[in-house]
Structure formats: structure tokens, C-alpha cells
Symmetry: C2
Subunit: 325 residues, 2 copies
């Protein structure tokens, strides 16, 4: 910049003014500076700019896996772009240590705010950052033990809706195959399922299967649910990945068992019959997250909010298969 100033024969400050489209600089000098910038190949350095300004115009997104389907992240990017903020994302790989590493890096880089898919139960490392003024919003799962903005899906009523839907279609023996209950969403959904079964006067015995998404476990879960003296006639799955695994192991039985999957996905309409799902409103989640984050950045004293976004039952066929004999 100082070189540009010398080349154009103006003061440093004037170059800054031209770069920032300040109107208080005469057209002739503007031209001189412009050509100097071009000949010297000057590119402004945002690091210095951000240092001086205090803000970076950047939001961080720390998500489980960048390279996985994540419609919430897409909505987050869109909403941020609309607000002229850049989103830079990194994966936490479902690893608490890595999450901490990523979030702390973003803090040291002084991102204006962070959208986080929190992992695990201990987020104590966030306390000093929050005290130091970090703006944070959690999506998909809350930050347990900390009073932080968050946007969640209505997991419980999603499961309840699925359950009621199956009951209405005549099912009595309904199984749930879910993710590891150490994960918040899995815990919520499993809990809701238990309550549904109890409320309908049923028993859980072979009807509830949660644990890691691992092919062998899913195979056993499917076998247990469909075997025995009183086999399930319907299955609810805990997330999109589990729907895939369950379908894989159902094989040709898939047409005889009613199935409702949590999460909509591309393959839902690829199958015969098409997959009935509980769909999350990912667009709403993403844009709400950005709204809340912007509000907090604008005024750190904003009251902490926990927003729950409704889910929707999408009827496609697999959930309407009647119970067998």
C-alpha cells in the first residue's frame, strides 16, 4: 500500500480511501491510485484490515462432516451470504478433541460467530471463549450444561407422529432402530419412542434397538425385531443412514414391513415403495441459526433462545404398508 502511495504520489491514507470507495477523494487522484494499484499488482490484506477494524465479516461452521450430506449447512451458507457474511467450514469428525481444536482455532482467528454441531457432553472449554465475547449458536443438538443459543428439530414429536401414523394404519408391534444414545438426537428420539410404546400399553422387549451405526448391529436388530413369537410389522429408523442400513438388511422383506425413516433423503424416492419419512425443516434451521447469530453479534446481551423447529411427515408409501397376517 505504501508502494502504491509512492507510485501514485499520494499519501497512504488516500490509497486506503480509494480502495474503500471513500467519496472524499478527487477523480484525478482516484485515477492515479487505480493505475498505480494495477501496475503494482496490489492486493489488499484482509488480515490487517480485520485487525484494525476489529471484525472479520466471517462466520465459522464446525460440523460433523463437511463431505456428508448436510442440508442445514447449505441453508447456513445461503443465509450468511444473503447477509454478506462469509462462512468458512471445517469438520469435527464427531471427535470431541477435534471439535475443540476447530472451535478454538476459529476463536483465535476472531471469527465474528460460530455455528456449531456440538459433540459430546463436556463443552467446558467454551466457557472462557463465551466470556470473552464469542457469539455461538448450536444446531441440531444443544450445548449441554451451557446457556447458549440453539436451534433444534422437534425430535420427540417427529417420533410421535411416525408412531401414531403407523398405529392408525393398524400396526401394533412397532420397532425402533436408532443411533447411539450418547448422541443427543438419538437419545431424544429413543426416549420419545419409549414413551409412545408405554402410552399405547405396549412392551419394549425386542422393539427398541439403539447403538452405533454398524452393519452387524443393524442386521441383528432387524433380525430381532422381525423374529420371535410376536414380530414387528413396522419399523421406525433413527436417521437417514440407519434407513439405508435397515433397508439393506431387510432385503426382499422390505415390501412386507412398514417403514418410516427419520430424515428425508435423495434415496427416499428411489425405492419401491418410496420411503415415508419424518423430514426436518433444514432450511428453517439454517436460516434461523444465522438470524440468531447475527442478533447476538449485533448485541451480545440478547437473551439466549432455544428454538425448536417443527418436523413434517412425508407420506410416500413405505409407511402405509398394512400389517401382515
Amino acid at each position: 500500500m505504501v508502494d502504491v502511495a509512492r507510485e501514485a504520489g499520494v499519501a497512504l491514507r488516500t490509497v486506503s480511501r480509494v480502495v474503500n470507495q471513500d467519496s472524499t477523494v478527487g477523480p484525478e487522484l482516484v485515477q492515479r491510485v487505480r493505475t498505480a494499484i494495477a501496475t503494482l499488482g496490489y492486493r489488499p490484506d484482509e488480515r490487517a484490515r480485520h485487525l484494525r477494524l476489529g471484525v472479520t465479516g466471517t462466520l465459522g461452521a464446525a460440523v460433523r462432516q463437511l463431505s456428508h450430506v448436510n442440508p442445514v449447512l447449505r441453508a447456513v451458507e445461503r443465509a450468511a451470504r444473503a447477509a454478506d457474511l462469509m462462512v468458512l467450514a471445517a469438520s469435527t469428525e464427531d471427535d470431541e478433541t477435534l471439535e475443540r481444536h476447530v472451535v478454538e482455532s476459529m476463536c483465535r482467528r476472531r471469527f465474528d460467530g460460530i455455528v456449531l454441531e456440538p459433540i459430546g457432553d463436556d463443552h467446558g472449554y467454551l466457557v472462557p471463549e463465551l466470556e470473552a465475547g464469542l457469539s455461538l449458536v448450536a444446531v441440531d443438538r444443544p450445548v449441554l450444561g451451557l446457556d447458549v443459543d440453539c436451534v433444534l428439530s422437534d425430535n420427540r414429536s417427529g417420533i410421535e407422529t411416525a408412531y401414531r401414523h403407523l398405529v392408525r394404519h393398524g400396526h401394533d408391534r412397532i420397532a425402533y432402530i436408532g443411533d447411539d444414545e450418547r448422541i443427543y438426537t438419538a437419545r431424544e428420539r429413543a426416549r420419545a419412542f419409549r414413551e409412545c410404546v408405554t402410552a399405547h400399553g405396549g412392551t419394549l422387549d425386542t422393539m427398541l434397538h439403539t447403538g452405533q451405526v454398524e452393519s452387524g448391529r443393524i442386521r441383528e436388530a432387524v433380525r430381532a425385531a422381525l423374529g420371535g413369537p410376536a414380530p414387528a410389522t413396522a419399523i421406525v429408523t433413527g436417521n437417514a443412514q440407519l434407513s439405508v442400513e435397515v433397508l439393506r438388511h431387510l432385503g426382499t422383506d422390505a415390501v412386507d414391513v412398514a417403514l418410516i425413516g427419520f430424515d428425508d433423503s435423495e434415496l427416499a424416492t428411489l425405492l419401491r415403495p418410496d420411503l415415508t419419512v419424518i423430514a426436518q425443516d433444514t432450511d428453517a434451521i439454517g436460516s434461523t441459526a444465522i438470524d440468531m447469530l447475527r442478533a447476538r453479534i449485533a448485541d451480545p446481551a440478547t437473551e439466549v433462545r432455544q428454538v425448536t423447529v417443527p418436523v413434517e411427515l412425508i407420506v410416500r408409501g413405505s409407511g402405509e404398508v398394512p400389517p401382515g397376517p
Copy 2:
């Protein structure tokens, strides 16, 4: 930092030394500084650090869609992490304007290097950045018209392998349904397919269908390929998304037509029969990209390289269906 220094009763430089684990500071002062840091809640500011140091320890990844399955990006993150570099990613949404915006933002932030999935044919905006010392590596597609490091899959031999495989299984009428040929990979694959057909003395008539991935178009393509006086007995698809669409429209005919998909995916083993695919070596692509980028960052005079990574035929059943009567 100056507050910490005052609190600890030491010089500014000493705080910096403690923060950076410099050994030339006495244990007593280290302790004093540590407690001062804790009581004041001091967090180092990487913006200033990077400004002073010149490097940022950060790589940018500009990819089509963060929130889509992208195993190359995963490999890129892994490899960068192993080299103690942080990857921050952003979506270009397959939009040339947005790509430029994203890349230029990363340049102004002085990222040490950028991994780019280039879009479109005009990357002129990169020229001044490259002259100013930008380290860039293109993945999946080359940067046309510019001499830039890149890592590509061997698209042509992938198509050739698929074609030969089908011929070996007795097919004679083989159709190709591909993506829009404005996209580099789609162009390469379609071209290779044309050459295969010509080399085998066939004609293209209803055998080649390229264009945007749009449900209606795919339906027509499938219908055209399988209809008429000499219907195709086998189909090769141009990417994973197209495999899904083609399967969707094949419906129950799926078992009678041999199918080989470009790109492996989760659903390949979900179907009956399982999907035979041409799989890209995404791990190799990602780690090679990071290797090349690191080499260029270390020495900007490194010779520009274009690396082609082999693809692999994975036989699963759908590609081994014999031709019908």
C-alpha cells in the same frame, strides 16, 4: 497482551515468549505470566500473529457443494490436518461468479494455498493472484488456459474399462447417459464413450445422452436408449447422481439391463443387484492435492504438474447382467 505484561510485571516480549513456549524465559516468570493470562482471560489473536508472521497456516477449499458427498474433500482435510494445516472450506454452488468471490476472499485473507474445484472455462481472474504468489491446486477438473497444478481422475480409461467390461459380457448396444458437457469431466467421459463406440464399429444414434441432470431429461434418455428397433442392453452413467436418476426411471426394468455407474457411492450396495461402478481413488486425489500444494507453498518455483489418478472397476453384479434376447 500488554495488559498481561503489566499484570505479570514483565515486558511485552516476555509474554509473547511464554505464549510461544520459548525456552529462554525463567520458570518463575513463566508462572507469573501464566497466572496473569488466566486471570485476565487473555486469548491470542491469530490475525495479528499471521500478519506479523506472513503465513497463516490455513488452506482454503473451494468446492461445488460443502453439503454434498465429497470424499475428495474429506481426504483433503485429513491430509492437511496431518500436516498441521487448517482447512477452511466454502461452497461455490457451481456458479462462476461465486467461485471468483470465494477464491478472491481467500486470497485477501492470505490463505497459504487453495484447493479448487474449478467451474467454467474462464479463470482469468486467477492470473493476477497467481502472479502475486497464490499457491493453487485444482482437483477433479483442470483450470483451462492456465498452467496450474491439478489432480484428475483418469476419466477416459474409466469409461473405456466400463465399455470393455460390458462388451466382454456380450453387450453390443451400450448406452451412455451423462452430465452436461459444459462440465469438464462430463466432456471427457462423453468423448471417451464416443471413441469406444467408434472403435467397436458401432453407431451412436440413440446411445449417447448428455445434458443437465434433470429428471425429465433422464426419463427421456432412458426411454430413448431402451426403446426403438435396436434397444440398448446396457447403460453406463456419467456420475453418481445420474446413476440414481437412471435407476429411478428404470424402475422394475433395472434387473434386465446391465448398468455400470461412474463413482462409487453408499447406495451401490443397497440395490439388487448391487451396482457395479467405476470408482475414483478419492483418497489418493485428496492427499496428492495437499502434497502438491505443500510443495508449491514451500517452493513457488516448483514445476507445474498435472497428475492423473487411476480409477478402478468394482464388480458387484449390475454390470454383469447378460444381454437379453
